[in-house]
Symmetry: C2
Subunit: 226 residues, 2 copies
DNA sequence: TGTACATCAGTGAACGCGCGTTCACTGATGTAC
DNA sequence: TGTACATCAGTGAACGCGCGTTCACTGATGTAC
């Protein structure tokens, strides 16, 4: 149960060797199984085979553990999205659609992880590394100025988004991410984001909608490309 | 504090008179202030000026109280969406866009209520009135067959959606909501749904996106109409 | 018109229990000499 | 090569407290006669 992975040179025993990663893995699977709101630190401990106090050597609190899982999710999604876009003509609607599909497929495959990543998360003050030049927007709760980066979690989310932005840089023949690129990408993100939540929240099921999700993404990508 | 509203013929005193509605109102404002996940029954009691046991005369449990608030929200949204659509040519992109704007405006005005209404809600078995012919979809958790109606909360949600469906019945010159109507409405819903969550979850702020939300809805409605 | 009685919406207090977190500790590991 | 010592990842137990819910009750209201 202990050290069942490739972690280097540990006999089973008092020192776990790679507890941080094991806790993240255990937490990820518990989150996925039951939703992050029902996640219990003690369960992750059981999963990793350690006492309930052990995580506090590696994470300041429960939220920090969940943040680490969210970041792992963002990294996976970024890689999957990039891989999905690669085979297609760069900057084309097909490439954008493929990236969108990766997003929605990820959501459907790991809905509770997806919710943790993209759902409502109040940014706690101590997560903000630099927030001097913040401004309040919309609900006056989430505040940030993304150029001065803020927190690792947000950085990981931004990296995901940039997979899409990179395509539109090509589509629009720019050499950097400028305002036009941001504007063009936004409705595409909006669509797959909405589709993901409608799908995983069961709205297609509840309303018995005769929808082919992947086909929707192709269709909408065509229409929403600049 | 007691009976400060139009409830009929109560002197202040032991019997509240209209506690059910007062609790719903108190809960709604607490949910909006702090998010439904942080809502405490005791706070609603304080708001209504009754003991912490009183709600259980009117609601089976905390969730039932939240469901009542969600239903009230759905009814408001339905009315607002219908009113927004009315001034425009029925079945036009303008009417559809106006309904979409009502949706997003509602979300931005009462984000926490919106999350309660449209966020992830596991359907508990005792909410399902008729569920004999259910089938499992996507995440194998949310199950329902919407034609046999299921629960008041879902019914209220459906009524909201039908404001949009009614427009597309006209657009497509049908006389009932058929499969084509459902298919045509879906991407429109998807877009405003995604836009609502991106907005209220602060993603526009975090990524400093130069987006005019209302303009987005006009633009996308044009492009996504059948 | 007054009295008896059923009904039920409220009260006040406490239960219960889940669970995040802390605390003083112990065992393992690596390194200086 | 062996010993002393610093370091720190883990343990086990318990704390603490928030909060939903229950229980036996009491006060108000309406109705039958």
């Amino acid at each position: 149960m202990v050290n069942d992975t490739e972690s280097p040179g540990n006999k089973a025993g008092y020192h776990h060797g790679n507890l941080r990663d094991h806790l993240i893995a255990a937490t990820r699977s518990l989150v996925e199984a039951d939703g992050s709101e029902h996640f219990k630190v003690a369960d992750a401990c059981r999963g990793a085979g350690v006492s309930t106090a052990a995580p506090y050597r590696h994470f300041s609190d429960r939220q920090a553990l969940l943040d680490a899982v969210a970041i792992a999710g963002f990294n996976d999604l970024r890689d999957e999205a990039r891989a999905a876009g690669k085979p297609h003509e760069q900057g084309s609607a097909k490439a954008v659609s493929a990236i969108g599909k990766a997003y929605v497929v990820f959501a459907i495959r790991e809905p509770n992880l997806f919710r943790l990543m993209f759902g409502h998360n109040r940014v706690t003050p101590n997560q903000l590394v630099v927030a001097s030049d913040t401004k309040t927007i919309i609900d006056a709760k989430v505040i940030a100025n993304s150029s001065d980066i803020v927190c690792p979690r947000m950085g990981a989310g931004r990296e995901c988004y940039e997979v899409l932005l990179e395509q539109l840089v090509i589509t629009l023949q720019r050499d950097v991410i400028d305002e036009d690129v941001l504007k063009a990408a936004f409705p595409l993100w909006t669509f797959v984001h909405g589709l993901s939540f409608l799908a995983i929240d069961g709205k297609l099921a509840v309303h018995q909608l005769p929808i082919d999700i992947m086909q929707q993404i192709d269709w909408a990508s065509e229409r929403l490309m600049p």
